[in-house]
Amino acid sequence: MRPLQLDLAMLKILKYSFYDLIRSRWSYVYFLFYLLLGFVLLFLNNDVSKAIITLMNVIILLVPLIGTIFGIMYFYNSKEFTELLLAQPIKRSSIFLGQYFGVAGSLTLSLVLGLGIPFVLYGLFKSDAIFDFTLLLVTGAFLTLIFTVLAFNIALSNENKIKGFGYAVLLWLFLAVIYDGLFLMSLILFKEYPLDSFSLGATMLNPIDLSRTLILLKLDISALLGYTGAVFKKFFGTDQGLLISMLMLVLWTVLPIWRLVSVAKKKDF
C-alpha cells in the first residue's frame, strides 16, 4: 500500500467519525454548552480578563472529564463498525487514528468555537487578554487530545465496558484530584528538604497540573511570585519554560497515541 492511500484511508475514517458525532448531535450540545458558558460568564463579569480566570477552573476540570467520557463511549459504541473496517484491506493504524482524530477534532472544534465566539463578540481583540485567552484555548485543546487518547487506550485494553468505563473515570479522578493530594502530602512530609525542583517535576508529570500552572502564572502572578513563586516564575515565565511545558503537553499526546497504534497492531480482535 502506498503512503498516499494510507493517508486517504485515515482521512476518510476521520471524516466518518466526525460526521457521525455531528449527526448524533453531541457535538452541538457540547458546543452550545460552551457558547452559553462563555456568554453567561461575560454577561455576569463584563470583564474579559476576569472571565478567563473563572473559565480556567471550568476548562481544567470539565475538558478532561468530557474528553475521557466521550472517548470511551465512542470507542465502545463504534466497536462493530471498527470490526467491520478491520475486515477491509486498511492499515490498522489508519482505522484507529482516524477514529481518534475524528472524536478529538470535533470536541476541540466545539470548545474553540463555543468559547471563541462569545469572547470575540465581547471585544477580545480590543482587550489585552488575547494572549491569555489563546493560551487557555491551546491548553484546552491539548487536554482534549490527551484525555481522549488516554480513554481510547483504556477502551482498547479492556473488553469489559463497565471495567473500562470505571478505569477511565478513575484516571480522571486521579489526575484531577488524587494526584494533587499525594503531591501535597509529600510536600508536607518532606518540607525540611528543598522542594523547588521536586514540585516543578511533579507539576510537569500531570497534564492537568501543568495546564493549570501555565495559565495561573499568566493570571495570578502576584501570589505565585511569593516565596516559591520566584523559582516557578523563572521557569514558566520565560519563553524557554513555555516551550518545555508545551513540549511536555505534546509528549503527553504523542506517547499515548503511539501506544494506541502499537497495541492495536498486535491485538487479536
Binding site: 484530584v177 495561573l216 502576584s222
Partner: protein, 412 residues
C-alpha cells in the same frame, strides 16, 4: 502741618524697602560669580538670585537666614566631591535649582541639600539627579519640603542613599515630591508630627516610604509603586495613613505595606493593588482599618505574630488569591461589614448584608504558610475540596475569625 513729616517718613520707608528688596544677582558674567561668594557677601534676610548657568560648587554653607532663588533652573554641579548645600541657619529658602553629582562615600552621608539644626526652612522646586542622599533634614523642625523631583540611579543598597531623609526632625511637611530610583524614597527616623502628602515614590531599591520610631505622623494621598519591597512602617505610634495607593510591589519578600510594632494607627481609604502581599502585619495592636480596597493581591492581609484588638470595617477585598492569612489559631481582631468578592452566601431579607458569615481564612493559606512550595496547587480542585471541608468545620484556622455581616455589594 503734619504732612512734611509723613512725607519724609514714607520716603525713608520706600528707600529702605528698595535697599532691602534688592537681590544679590549671581551669574557667569556678573560681579558675583559663585553662590558661595554671594552667601558670604549677603547679610541676614537677603535674597540671592541665581541666573541660569552651571555652577561647579560643593560645600556651600548657608549660615544666615537667606532666600536662594534659581532662575530657569541653574545647575549646581558637585562633581562628586561631597555635600553640595548645607543649611545651618533658621529661615532659609532654597527654590528652583537643578543639583547634580553628589559625592558617594562609605563613611559620610553626603546629601545634595542638608539642613542641620534649623527651623522654618523651605526647600522647593529642586530637581536632583545623580545623588547619594537627596534632601537630608537633621534635627530641623517646622519646615517644608515641597514640589521637588528626585531621580536617582541606585543599583546596590550599600552604596546608595535615600531620597528624602528626616532624622530627629519634627513638624515638617513633605508634599508634592516625586522620588524615584533611590534606596528608600522617603525615610523617617525619630521624627514626630510629620505630614507626608501627595508624593509619588516609585521604583526605589528598598522601600517607597520607611518609618522608624516616628510617632503622630500623617501620610495621605501618596502613590507608592513598584518599589523593591513597598512601604515599611515600624516601631511607631498613632500614625494616620489615608488615601494612599500601593501598587505592583512584587517579589519573594515584597509587600504593599509592612506594619511592624505599630500601635493605635488609623488606616483608611487606601488602595492596595497587585502586590504580592497587600499588608503584612506583625505585632501591631489597636489599628483601625476602614474603607480600604484590596484588589488582586496575592495575599490581601498577612498576619504574623501577636496582633490584638485590630478592627477591619467596610473594606473591599476584591479578587485576592488569599484575602486573609493567619499563622496561628488565635484571633483577637474584629472583621465586620466588609465586602468579600469570594463570598458565596445569600441575602434573603434583602438588607444588603449576607445571612451567612464569611470565613476569610482558607485552610490553603495555612498550608502555604507551613509549606511555601504548596502554592503550586493554587486553584486546584483538591484544594477547593479541602478548603470547603475546613469552611464547614474549622480545625486549623481560627474558628472565631469570621465576618458575621459580610456586605452583598461593594463599598463605594
Amino acid at each position: 502741618m503734619q504732612y512734611p513729616k509723613l512725607f519724609i517718613f514714607v520716603l525713608v520707608l520706600f528707600t529702605t524697602v528698595e535697599l532691602w528688596a534688592k537681590p544679590i544677582v549671581v551669574c557667569e558674567s556678573c560681579v558675583v560669580k559663585s553662590i558661595s561668594e554671594a552667601v558670604a557677601l549677603a547679610i541676614d534676610f537677603d535674597t540671592l538670585l541665581v541666573k541660569k548657568g552651571t555652577y561647579k560648587e560643593y560645600n556651600i554653607l548657608i549660615d544666615k537666614p537667606l532666600t536662594l532663588i534659581g532662575e530657569n533652573y541653574p545647575i549646581i554641579d558637585g562633581e562628586d566631591q561631597g555635600e553640595i548645600i548645607r543649611i545651618v541657619s533658621d529661615n532659609v529658602t532654597v527654590d528652583g535649582f537643578f543639583i547634580v553629582n553628589v559625592g558617594t562615600s562609605y563613611t559620610t552621608d553626603y546629601a545634595a541639600i542638608r539642613v542641620v539644626k534649623s527651623k522654618n526652612f523651605l526647600i522647593q522646586n529642586i530637581v536632583l539627579e545623580k545623588l547619594f542622599f537627596g534632601i537630608y533634614l537633621e534635627k530641623s523642625n517646622h519646615g517644608k519640603v515641597y514640589h521637588n523631583k528626585i531621580i536617582g540611579d541606585a543599583i546596590d543598597e550599600y552604596n546608595s542613599g535615600n531620597g528624602i531623609q528626616l532624622w530627629y526632625s519634627d513638624h515638617v511637611e513633605v508634599s508634592q515630591n516625586i522620588v524615584q530610583g533611590a534606596r528608600d524614597g522617603i525615610y523617617l527616623e525619630f521624627s514626630d508630627n510629620i505630614t507626608i502628602h501627595n508624593n509619588k515614590s516609585t521604583n526605589n531599591l528598598r522601600y517607597g516610604l520607611h518609618f522608624m520610631f516616628s510617632d503622630d505622623d500623617v501620610y495621605t494621598d501618596n502613590i507608592f509603586e513598584n518599589n523593591g519591597a513597598g512601604v515599611a512602617v515600624m516601631f511607631s505610634k498613632r500614625i494616620k495613613m489615608k488615601g494612599n495607593t500601593f501598587r505592583k510591589n512584587w517579589g519573594p519578600a515584597a509587600f504593599g505595606m509592612l506594619l511592624k510594632e505599630i500601635n493605635d494607627a488609623e488606616i483608611s481609604g487606601n488602595t492596595f493593588e497587585e502586590n504580592t502581599i497587600g499588608i503584612h502585619i506583625e505585632g501591631s495592636n489597636r489599628i483601625e482599618y476602614k474603607a480600604n480596597n484590596f484588589v488582586k493581591n496575592g495575599w490581601g492581609i498577612k498576619v504574623l505574630g501577636a496582633c490584638y484588638a485590630n478592627t477591619f470595617r467596610a473594606n473591599n477585598f476584591l479578587y485576592n488569591s488569599f484575602d486573609i492569612s493567619y499563622n496561628s489559631k488565635l484571633n483577637d481582631n474584629v472583621f465586620d461589614g466588609n465586602y468579600w468578592s469570594a463570598y458565596t452566601g445569600y441575602d434573603l431579607d434583602k438588607n444588603g448584608i449576607g445571612d451567612v458569615p464569611y470565613r476569610p481564612v482558607k485552610l490553603f493559606s495555612y498550608i502555604v504558610n507551613q509549606t511555601p512550595e504548596a502554592i503550586v496547587l493554587l486553584r486546584s480542585l483538591f484544594m477547593d475540596i479541602i478548603d470547603f471541608s475546613e469552611k464547614v468545620s474549622p480545625v486549623f484556622t481560627p474558628d472565631n475569625l469570621l465576618d458575621t455581616n459580610p456586605l452583598m455589594t461593594k463599598v463605594q
